[in-house]
């Protein structure tokens, strides 16, 4: 199957069920360059194999994805009306989302599809790939809240084979999905809350994508990360602002709030990027309380 066609097929299938969303995807895809087309091809090839392995059809995956899109609309309506995220308790979200295999499955599989369908997710992943090559000599790598495992899978492809990879996630379903998605075999998986994790060895590289907004006290989480990182270690983080979701409990109103927290926690920003999720500038998005994704490589 030709994968550019696959992207087309996915959008066509989405269009049948949700024309409004398909309209946005077509625009997204149109604005991206040929590098994107190239990457999308290999990503979809990989995803196709992964779906087969996990016995999920493309149609099911699209249904999951559209449910997630709808969740997001529903949460955004509430967010525009109240200015707050609907949920604020970790225990509640843990019970309702991370511990429920059905919810977590549709959540993670749709997140995986969003990597190729959402401009912002592609741009952030591209930023990650661009800079990660500087750290290939790392000897130890920890991913916190790895979800589907796309990021650690990329690092495992590029880093020296001697690097030790570990992946931690509070959701057993995420761990199972990551195990089938990630090509590298010798990765150590931990099914636990990051706050319960301890390690005798410190890490050269820690990656934590879209997790900071899932905890009640982000400052404590950054403190935890710092305690796990070598003094010369590097920390990659991504955080969305104004992003109501079924499991987001801490609201960042703008990138500056994130930056300030990172600096207060003792991190120095080496590279950073902000990507607006709509056809408006980052500043406009912040003003209108529309999601922007912030990502950075940090050191001490």
């Amino acid at each position: 199957m030709d994968e550019t066609i696959s992207l087309k097929i996915i959008v066509e299938k989405i269009e049948v069920q949700n024309p409004l969303h398909a309209k946005k995807l077509k625009e997204n895809i149109r604005t991206l360059d040929s590098n994107y087309q190239h990457w999308a091809k290999s990503f979809l090839q990989k995803t196709e194999k992964f779906l087969k392995k996990t016995n999920v059809s493309l149609d099911d995956c699209i249904t999951f994805y559209l449910k997630k899109v709808n969740d997001s609309i529903f949460e955004m309506v509430n967010f525009f009306q109240t200015g707050k995220y609907r949920y604020n308790s970790f225990d509640e979200v843990n019970k309702r989302v991370y511990s429920d295999p059905d919810v977590m499955r549709y959540n993670m599989l749709s997140l995986l599809l969003s990597q190729v369908l959402w401009k912002q997710h592609y741009i952030i992943f591209d930023f990650f790939k661009k800079h990660i090559s500087e750290y290939v000599e790392s000897k130890s790598y920890l991913e916190i809240g790895g979800g589907h495992g796309l990021f650690i899978n990329e690092a495992a492809k590029l880093f020296n084979t001697s690097c030790n990879f570990e992946l931690l996630d509070i959701s057993e379903t995420s761990i199972e999905i990551a195990k089938s998605f990630i090509d590298k075999k010798n990765i150590t998986y931990y099914h636990m809350d990051i706050f319960e994790f301890s390690s005798k060895r410190l890490f050269d590289f820690i990656s934590m994508g879209e997790v900071l907004e899932h905890v009640e006290k982000p400052k404590d989480l950054l403190k935890k990360v710092k305690s796990l990182l070598k003094p010369e270690g590097v920390f990659f983080i991504t955080v969305p602002t104004n992003a109501p979701d079924i499991d987001h409990i801490y609201l960042f109103n703008n990138s500056e709030e994130i930056r300030t927290l990172l600096k207060e926690s003792g991190f120095k920003i080496d590279y950073e990027i902000e990507v607006s999720t709509e056809k408006i500038s980052v500043d406009d998005a912040h003003k209108r309380k529309i999601c922007v994704i912030y990502a950075a490589f940090l050191s001490f």
Binding site: P19, L20, K23, K24, K67, I73, F74, V77, I290
Partner: protein, 79 residues
């Protein structure tokens, strides 16, 4: 209320939120027919419709919306 009455109340909401003039809404109109009706303005539309009709849609109700007719039917069902 019937569909026509709902449409006549939806028209000024669409006109204002989407910032378009001379809008004629019909049941069949969908996002592809109005350039300004995109994923972002869609949320603003839902917010404005909930406010105007003083109701709250469930997640399931907004899920199936493809055109103006779908929105009208949901509003009618909630009466």
């Amino acid at each position: 209320m019937n569909i026509q009455e709902i449409i006549s109340q939806l028209t000024p909401i669409f006109t204002e939120v989407l910032d378009v003039e001379n809008l004629t809404l019909t049941p069949q109109i969908q996002a592809d027919d109005i350039e300004e009706w995109d994923s972002l303005s869609h949320i603003q539309l839902i917010v404005a419709i909930e406010k105007h009709f003083n109701l709250k849609f469930t997640s399931l109700e907004i899920q199936g919306w493809k055109n103006v007719q779908d929105i009208c039917s949901t509003i009618l069902n909630k009466e």
